[in-house]
Symmetry: C3
Subunit: 140 residues, 3 copies
């Protein structure tokens, strides 16, 4: 049994940009000494989240954005924006709702996903960002 | 320290069917060589999620369904449905919101849950499904 | 590789009280034999959740509360409240949405968080509660 810390860096456009990070995870797994266990995926920062979705244009470019706009609208009132005089109150709310962590089982150096299930980073911030995702592999 | 991969299969009715999988997890734990550690629970597929809830009829058969219908309505417009000409856009949104993964601490071969806290699979798809849930046990 | 079980106890005011538990986690990590791995954080009970947020008054005292009130209103109709003749249907829905578990990578005895990212317990119940949070450390 061992622990391995990997880091995935992703450039995003912000504004609820949904990025498929599955190929980047698989790349790390191909280099790892761990072939069975878990990948604890964690995005550093408070305006992004990690989940899974079928990565196809309708969901990724429209339906997810429409959902987040409905439950935490960009144009809503946020006290947070007074603090820093910025415009990303909705980004924080969306990120806390989705959460920064996802734990995926690993077997034969592969994430045990469904065929139409991809691991995504969603960047809710209001500007392009370079994001760091920590992948803590635990297993053997 | 070791890793053990278990699989739980559940037949659901779809349509936000909430299934208590706690007894199925306990069954696996009773057969396991690991008595202390974590159970990383992960549902394979992009139209189901895993969380905890007090498993009683009001919440399970009414309140959760009403909540999901409010935030991601079955009758809403989803671009996803053009892709495959299907009807489960809301299922994907609900699944991404809840997330496919839940990590539960294990002690004395038992999940460390509250008395009124059960682990549930929620199947958001629009038809009955057979679901696979991977339980990656890590511990000693 | 080892497993260590720690417990964090927090007194809350309920009513979507957001508590920063990062210092309490760091305190446990300072006493632990594990310096690299994961902290699997899990709140026991079905009316509280765990996530991360920038811990500043605007988000914590206003924006998060307003969000939860919008998607699962305290004054909504919940069948759950008939079961026990109580008033916390919305608390259960909010808790199931956020989820009870969060897995954070650990390195050099520190959680690998962003500068403005804190780990929070949110207590959705309608009265003050003493909460138990299990921290399962796995690593070396």
């Amino acid at each position: 049994m061992a622990v391995e810390t990997h880091q995935i860096n992703v450039d995003t456009q912000g504004n609820t940009h949904v990025v498929d990070i599955t190929p980047l995870l698989v790349e790390k797994l191909n280099l790892a000494d761990i072939s069975v266990g878990i990948a604890a995926i964690f995005v550093v920062g408070s305006t992004a989240g990690v989940t899974t979705v079928e990565y196809e244009p309708g969901l990724v470019n429209h339906d997810l954005k429409a959902f987040f706009e409905r439950v935490a609208s960009e144009s809503g009132h946020y006290e947070h924006e007074k603090m820093w005089n910025d415009d990303n109150g909705h980004s924080h709310i969306r990120a806390s709702m989705i959460g920064p962590s996802l734990t995926v089982p690993i077997r034969d150096r592969q994430p045990m996903l469904g065929t139409w299930q991809q691991i995504v980073l969603i960047d809710f911030d209001t500007r392009p960002r370079r994001r760091s995702i920590v992948v803590q592999l635990i297993g053997e």
